[in-house]
Point group: C2
């Protein structure tokens, strides 16, 4: 292991002062002779000199580093979001500090503090969807000394830039499509109990039904956590109804449902139609490809970075910006068109 080389050492070797070396290496258009300029650069290169960002950011008061907190980096959607966001940050010379919290508000808070004390210039937060006690977190976010952008989900009622997909619209589009295909008895499988996102998707589902005068039947609304086994459990009851179609409000929920369908020997869309959300690997693999509401994480990342960028530049008014993105319905093969018998 080599030693770290400092500015001072370079200066000593060249026989000039540290300030001169700093000036040259930062390419300041200052008054250092061409001759010395070359010399310094050469010595620095020869010694593998790399400036110490820690020291630099102490005086510069910026680190060109951003932070990201996601609930679970092992989820495909968040991993993809993290990947896109990092790429985007790097394009602008920022490093991205990716962290994964486990989803609890306490962990989120802990990570947030870690990031702040480590001097990130701003944070992207994917937090606050579940109904846990987030008072401390909310408090911390509102007193943050650096800009924050909430991504994909939000702590309700917090004045803060937000970038997210319109979950209500997603639920609406999915259901609306099923209705257009002639379905009348449409079940849904959502995480409304513990997730704001889930609630919104449910609201969209209900709006679509109301809009065409279909009844909202509580017996067709099923609850599931965002985990495959949970959805698998819940699906049995779904299949006991007379529904001809199901709106599965997340990718994992869809997967749990599919597993159950498969086990029961039901075929899609022959026996039942399915609209999913956020298709993951599954559609690459097996027939039928799932019709789904898609949210492109890359788009989310792009807008989130945009917001952050403005804040960092000191632009962007005092008020929080709120970007709402429309999800897209991708039609594939999991929905049967019913001949309208009405």
């Amino acid at each position: 292991m080599a030693n770290k080389v400092t500015l001072k050492q370079i200066a000593q070797e060249v026989g000039l002062s540290p300030s001169s070396v700093s000036l040259v290496l930062n390419n300041r258009p200052c008054r250092i002779s061409e001759e010395n300029r070359k010399l310094i650069k050469e010595v620095a290169a020869r010694n593998h000199y790399v400036p110490n960002q820690i020291a630099r950011s102490l005086v510069m008061r910026e680190s060109r580093t951003l932070g990201l907190i996601v609930p679970n980096i092992e989820s495909r959607f968040f991993a993809s979001l993290a990947g896109s966001l990092e790429k985007r940050c790097r394009e602008d010379g920022y490093a991205l500090f990716i962290t994964s919290s486990g989803g609890s508000a306490e962990d989120d808070l802990e990570l947030l503090r870690q990031l702040v004390t480590r001097g990130v210039d701003g944070v992207f937060l994917v937090v606050g969807d579940e109904f846990s006690d987030d008072r401390a977190l909310r408090e911390e976010v509102s007193h943050l000394p650096i800009p924050a952008v909430m991504v994909d989900r939000a702590i309700e009622g917090l004045e803060c830039d937000k970038v997210m997909f319109d979950h209500e619209m997603g639920g609406y589009m999915a259901t609306r499509y099923l209705i257009e295909q002639g379905h009348r008895r449409i079940a849904c499988l959502v995480n409304a109990r513990r997730s704001n996102t889930g609630r919104k998707r449910l609201a969209g589902y209900e709006r679509a039904l109301r809009e065409v005068g279909l009844p909202i039947d509580a017996r067709l609304e099923f609850e599931s956590e965002y985990y495959i086994p949970s959805a698998y459990e819940a699906s049995e009851a779904v299949l006991a109804t007379d529904a001809t179609a199901v709106f599965a409000s997340s990718d994992n929920i869809a997967l749990g449902l599919l597993k159950r369908l498969h086990e029961m020997g039901k075929s899609i869309p022959g026996d039942i139609s399915v609209v999913s959300y956020d298709n993951s690997a599954a559609d690459v693999l097996f027939e039928p490809a799932l019709t789904a509401i898609e949210q492109d994480p890359g788009v989310l990342a792009e807008h989130a970075f945009g917001c952050m960028s403005k804040r960092l530049a000191g632009k962007g008014g005092r008020r929080a910006e709120e970007v709402v993105l429309e999800p897209v319905l991708i039609v594939k093969d999991s929905v049967l068109e019913l001949t309208k018998h009405n």
Copy 2:
């Protein structure tokens, strides 16, 4: 946005010197009267004081931050590794800076430099599997001023701690199992051209064949990149052989193969048996569940952190440590037992 509160401000408010405040907040068993101790703590809490790690690590010469470079955070295996590793680091009070390179040696190098200048105390490297020009990277790693641990893959011939699964053994175990089940014509689908890992798995495959006196038939060895479409392409040729079983040497390769099989109406294991590697979501979902060689990323993370921990503590000899982990064969339902007709 609130302002950042500094030690000095706290000191001023309390009417004591910054040094005293520092002493108290770090719980030094020193000096300082109980009375003032309480006072300081209270004022610090009231002002939401959080120490500036940047300043602190400048003088302490450690940041309690580690770095991780993975080729692609969107891959399930690496995401899982990153998740486990972060959790493990946090248990010991370290934050983990997760970065994702895209896989090229230049990007790896760039990220490594970023991490080092940002003052991480050590780095976990998942780099160097592909045959690209890694001279600069190799050079950088060997001159690193901080400990590095190579995880899951390695730059060949570099004196550096390494933690990885035995890929040769994995290939061997998979093939050996197929042989034991009575298969004699066993194809394999590997990324031997561009991946060291792939080469090793191929070597294991061949060893198993040799061991029982089966011929090594180049017509049964197929090349595929680690991407689903690539494997999908390659699979057509595989299925044109008389092989009764296939060893698919990565999860994505298995998925591409499965897709092709499905499209051709072939059933597993009825028409052909499959042993996969690193099962991802697929086996949760559909029948038959895949028999596979499993590498637990959590185990990898645990050992990697162990190595790092030793280095950070200054223990661990001058020589590099090399930890080789055995993968595990998980038997499920994708292999048919052939009645031995010999």
